[in-house]
């Protein structure tokens, strides 16, 4: 049985390692094989970008060699997939190799698409790539006060990042002693300050406490120098615009017509691509209406690992993914809280504590053990 994992980010790596552990006997005997194809030989801890943008982490801390994170039984190649031929169970890579599989797992992730909104890329700071996070930090460090707007596009990865960047900005300006010279204004596309109602209920009073103003039902339509204009015909003026751009799936998914916007239609419980029994999708690449988060990819990978191993060993999957997501929320002032939810249970965030902030700080360094499938 040949299992092909496309994508060596959070989801693909955790899944491949999980499978390599579960199928160690089959891999040793040669009756099964796991191949991973990815676009890079480096693995980035993406949540660290948020910290880089406010000078709390350095870029060198974000990376490890992908190979060092994988079980030695996984056959890893940096050779991105360009064509998916699902009817014939094969993919073609950039180098021109045609690779057949019995089971295919797609975890190619998502990317910010600031270009989708006229003027956004040119007039805003972002933190979704290393270059953008570093550029944002440089801009912040020269900022001496004025109007700062945080604006969010949908869908986007990391559901908590609009809130977290706002709390981090407050901390940053306070630390530099210029908070009294800053007017911080937060906008959000739906009718409350966060997509998850309990999180919104917790966050709005926190904003009030700090004097952060907010406007909801604000969907960015266009950005011109100094002004962001919404679909709802309102606008916000800024000296500094920080954005969480709307996201798309990867181009290769769109080019192969696997799903609209690069997001593949996926069964919410079994995580197979709709209409395909031997193609599974995880992480940001699914079209599931749940958070595009590392923890989502992690919990999906664990469910899938168990199911694919069961398919190899018994011919049938054994469990459903329950929609579990766990997100820390950095709340500024050295404190954090978290939101945990699944398909049936909404989150219930509690008052932030320093213990949870330390937990998150430690987790930022322990992520690599998590990618290896240890924690």
């Amino acid at each position: 049985m040949h299992i092909l994992v496309v994508g060596g980010g959070m989801g693909g790596t955790i899944l491949a390692n999980n499978l390599a552990r579960r199928l160690s006997g089959e891999l040793e005997q040669g009756s099964s094989k796991i191949t991973m194809l990815s676009a890079s030989d480096k693995h980035m801890y993406q949540p660290g970008l948020l910290y880089v943008a406010v000078g709390k982490m350095s870029t060198s801390e974000l990376y490890r060699d992908q190979k060092s994170l994988l079980e030695s039984s996984i056959d890893f190649h940096v050779d991105p997939v360009e064509k998916f031929d699902l009817d014939n169970n094969s993919v073609t890579t950039k180098s021109g190799k045609k690779i057949s599989y019995d089971i295919l797992c797609i975890a190619t992730g998502s990317r910010g698409n600031a270009e989708g909104i006229p003027g956004l890329a040119e007039n805003s700071c972002q933190f979704y790539t290393e270059a953008d996070a570093v550029a944002m930090y440089k801009k912040l460090s020269k900022f001496e006060g004025g109007k700062v707007v945080v604006a969010t596009g949908v869908p986007h990865k990391c559901p908590m990042s609009p809130l977290e960047i706002t709390f981090f900005l407050i901390d940053y300006f306070k630390k530099r002693g210029i908070w009294d010279k800053v007017d911080l204004h937060y906008t959000y596309p739906i009718g409350r300050v966060h997509s998850l109602a309990p999180v919104a209920e917790w966050a709005a009073p926190e904003f009030d406490k700090e004097g952060v103003t907010y406007e909801t039902l604000f969907n960015m339509k266009e950005v011109v120098p100094g002004k962001v204009i919404s679909e709802e015909d309102s606008s916000a003026e800024f000296d500094l615009l920080v954005t969480v751009p709307p996201h798309k799936g990867m181009q290769v998914i769109e080019d192969n017509e696997l799903g609209k916007g690069g997001f593949i239609p996926t069964d919410k419980k079994k995580l197979n691509m709709e209409g395909r029994d031997n193609v599974f999708v995880l992480g940001d690449t699914t079209n599931l209406p749940i958070s595009k988060a590392g923890s989502t990819a992690h919990f999906e990978a664990e469910a899938l690992g168990e199911n694919i191993a069961a398919i190899v060993q018994m011919g049938e999957p054994v469990r459903d993914y329950d929609g579990k997501v766990f997100c820390f929320i950095e709340a500024g002032d050295g404190k954090a809280t978290y939101a945990m939810f699944d398909y049936n249970n909404p989150p219930n965030p509690q008052a932030p504590t320093s213990g949870l902030h330390w937990f998150k700080t430690a987790y930022n360094r322990m992520y690599w053990a998590s990618a290896r499938g240890i924690i």
Binding site: K56, G334, S354, G355, H357, W358, T361, A362, Y363, N364, R365, M366, Y367, W368, A369, R372, I374, I375
Partner: protein, 114 residues
């Protein structure tokens, strides 16, 4: 008012003290160390060869081998340089301990070549 403090208060004070003493940097370093230790422990415990080596290390033979190595090393350091030449070689070869050692090495290389 009693000057005794309850266990809960002691725990709270301890936690507050620990909290005040910690910095983000300390926690990050501890996290980094935990990460590395977990990865090493995972590698070691799932590596059959290392586990076998650990098992072997508990046997008497293994201890004897380490002792023998250290004795041999010491006596090598202390022994005068050999005179060399065919005569010197014959003298060394006629030592029954040397013959036994060569036999052991021979068996080892036979196993490796299997």
């Amino acid at each position: 008012m009693s000057s005794e403090i309850t266990i809960q208060q002691q725990v709270d004070r301890f936690m507050q003290g620990a909290g005040d003493a910690l910095t983000d940097d300390t926690v990050a370093r501890l996290g980094f160390m935990m990460n590395e230790l977990l990865i090493i422990a995972d590698r070691v415990t799932r590596n059959k060869n290392i586990m076998k080596l650990l098992e072997m290390s508990e046997t008497k033979d293994f201890a004897k081998m380490l002792d023998a190595m250290s004795v041999a090393f010491e006596s090598y350091k202390e022994s005068p340089a050999t005179s060399g030449g065919i005569g010197g070689m014959l003298k060394v070869m006629s030592d029954p301990n040397v013959q036994g050692s060569l036999k052991l090495l021979g068996n080892f290389s036979k196993e490796l070549n299997k």
